[in-house]
Point group: C2
Chain length 395, copies 2
């Protein structure tokens, strides 16, 4: 067996990893806006990127150079470098050239960006940031702060994994994304570092699996960002590895950050788990769970703390999967409001359901009663603040 413990240090917890965030002048008021993550030895890489066809320049740059190993990620906020054509890729080359000229120990650096779409990268300002870098700094918090856009709080986590034989490795991460309720502008970025002795192919397989139940399970409104990125770097410095322990720790890291993003959803005040069971299969459960977490009707009902279970049923019905009102059960935490045709919704039950909805975290559980398929999705409410934030993000 193995033991997993939460520790301090974020993306710098793993041996040999360094990170910092500086103020280059992209954000007003001297806020940090450019960050780096650096390993003093080359790293193996696994990655997951957006499925958006208007893929941003940083991702196309990564693909163009087919990066296999790297020891540095450069990240900027405020500009997504998306819809900038080939010039956007040239801009990255120019910026990374400045980085590698200044620090000859950096090899094959990767760039990642988040912010406004359709504006050329402010290269000179980012270069100002690069000139402020000191590679031997372990300030994960500063890096996490620098990559924020509309985020209300910085997001990081680190875990120490102790194996049965006494071997120890670490996984740490920083992320940004003010709720996937708005990924097309708030881009979800996550950078994970580990000193576990694992290599690209194995890491990629595990990452693909874990991302389904974490970042791909949080509320998306159908607008996948041009820039969404998950990068996992391993420098093998611990000399230790156990696939099961690594997978479990990685899932804890990613689920923690995914939930943090949802909780930080623009204007959001609640984290709601949509727990679907009894579907014909997992794929159909996933469709229903995501339909609920993405539904504008559900989101406004959550905001209004209105236990409108009819909307839950209707949203599942509209999702296209197999379902039948005669087999369905709907509960808000432990308060069952509908069970196979019987409605438990007198004044008392309504009050109890409203009480559940007042909680900052609760679960809407739907048993479809048809099979063994299940999936959990995570969402948040949508209120006036969301409209305010998004009505004029650009201006």
């Amino acid at each position: 067996m193995y033991k997993i413990e939460m520790i301090e240090g974020g993306v710098c917890a793993a041996e040999g990893f360094y990170a910092d965030g500086v103020s280059a002048g992209l954000k007003p008021g001297g806020a940090k806006d450019v960050a780096f993550i650096y390993s003093d030895t080359l790293c193996e890489i696994a990655s997951v990127f957006t499925t958006n066809k208007m893929t941003a320049a940083p991702i196309r740059h990564f693909w163009r150079y087919g990066k296999v190993q790297s020891n540095c990620i450069l990240i900027n906020a405020k500009n997504a470098n998306a819809m900038t054509g080939d010039a956007g890729i040239d801009d990255i080359d120019e910026v990374l050239e400045v980085l590698t000229s200044r620090f000859e120990q950096i090899h094959n650096p990767i760039m990642s960006s988040t912010g406004v779409i359709g504006v050329r990268l402010p290269k000179e300002t980012i270069k100002v940031g690069i000139r402020k870098f000191h590679l031997r700094v372990k300030n994960s918090q500063a890096a996490a702060a620098a990559i924020m856009t509309t985020d209300r709080f910085a997001k990081q986590i680190a875990l120490r994994v102790t194996l049965e034989d006494g071997g120890v490795f670490h996984i740490g991460a920083i992320a940004k994304g003010a709720g996937m309720i708005n990924p097309a502008m708030a881009t979800m970025l996550c950078f994970i570092t580990t000193d576990a002795q694992c290599y690209s192919d194995a890491m990629q397989e595990i990452l693909n699996d874990v991302v389904t139940r974490t970042f791909n399970a949080i509320s998306v409104d159908g607008d996948t960002s041009t820039n969404d990125t998950v990068l996992l770097l391993s420098n093998q410095k611990s000399g230790c590895y156990d696939a099961a322990a690594f997978q479990e720790a990685l899932e804890q890291v990613m689920l923690h950050l995914a939930k943090a993003m949802t909780r930080d959803g623009e204007g959001a005040s609640k984290l709601v788990t949509f727990d679907i069971s009894g579907a014909r299969n997992d794929a159909e459960a996933q469709i229903a769970a995501k339909a609920l977490s993405n539904s504008l009707l559900m989101k406004t009902a959550l905001f209004g703390e209105d236990p409108n279970w009819g909307r839950v049923a209707s949203t599942i019905g509209a999702s296209g999967i197999a379902c039948d009102e005669k087999c369905l059960r709907i509960a808000f935490d432990d308060v069952c409001v509908y069970d196979k045709g019987t409605v438990f919704f007198d004044k008392l039950m309504e009050e109890r359901a409203v009480e559940v909805m007042r909680r900052s975290e609760f679960t809407i559980a739907c048993d479809l009663g048809l099979g063994a398929g299940s999936f959990r999705a995570y969402g948040c409410d949508l209120g006036y603040e969301y409209v305010k934030i998004n009505a004029d993000y650009r201006t």
Copy 2:
């Protein structure tokens, strides 16, 4: 050739059709809440219903009795009779029995409902309404008002079609739906009457075709209502028919009502046409157009009058269809902001785009530059009022 003119009379414009709305006590303050549409001879029927699997009782009742001909539709607001199981169907039988007992000239009546989900039909109240009916009334406006829920205005239209040989027929309709931005609660209902000499099979074929470009082209947020219904009744009284003229007139009727619903979207202030061209095929154009009209990001940008063309590009990119930033062109009415990699978005262009967005109606046109596929979808903005209306609809 033929001539199509707009006339008064709504659903009563066609010969032999009658309609009225009365106050039964479902809505507070004596507002009209139960309506009928009646033809003094039997009608052929064509219909389109929701694809929601949690199909409401009125639609399952219609299917159960396989209605081929009818001469009356009974409609109530405030209660959807959805998620009410077999009891919901029995309730309809009981209510319709009262209707046919009172009026022996009514055959195979159809019931349609809209309102809250999961509450048994208030039969006794609806019976009060039925007792107030007088069949020989032609008050389309009252019927249109009675079927409203969150609608801000009643929706009706009527057209007179004059054929080359001097023959004349009529098509009229009433509809409700405060924007398909919220169909799971605001259910879209449309009842169309005609005295054209047309029969079920031909009508059904034309209706299926027209609904794609009208009611299925307005902004849906993925939540298809449990009750959505389009019913087309023809009593052949004019003795006239021409398929092309009928199709064109039907499309004018349905597009007019679809746009009226979008304009009446809860809290909406703008009607926006998303005009996609240059897609590989019509199906992909439809996917992109609907993605734009349903996008929460687009809707809030419309509300904020923010010409955030990056969101347009990103939303198309995320929709899954073939697209390429090097071939794309985006314009707000006549203001082109992006053309095949060139961004026209200095201060002046931004001001011109904002001017367009201040209009109550405008078009966002996207040429994908890849083929001949095209589709037009219609949407509206989403502001604070939408959140307010939907945060506590039940209460």
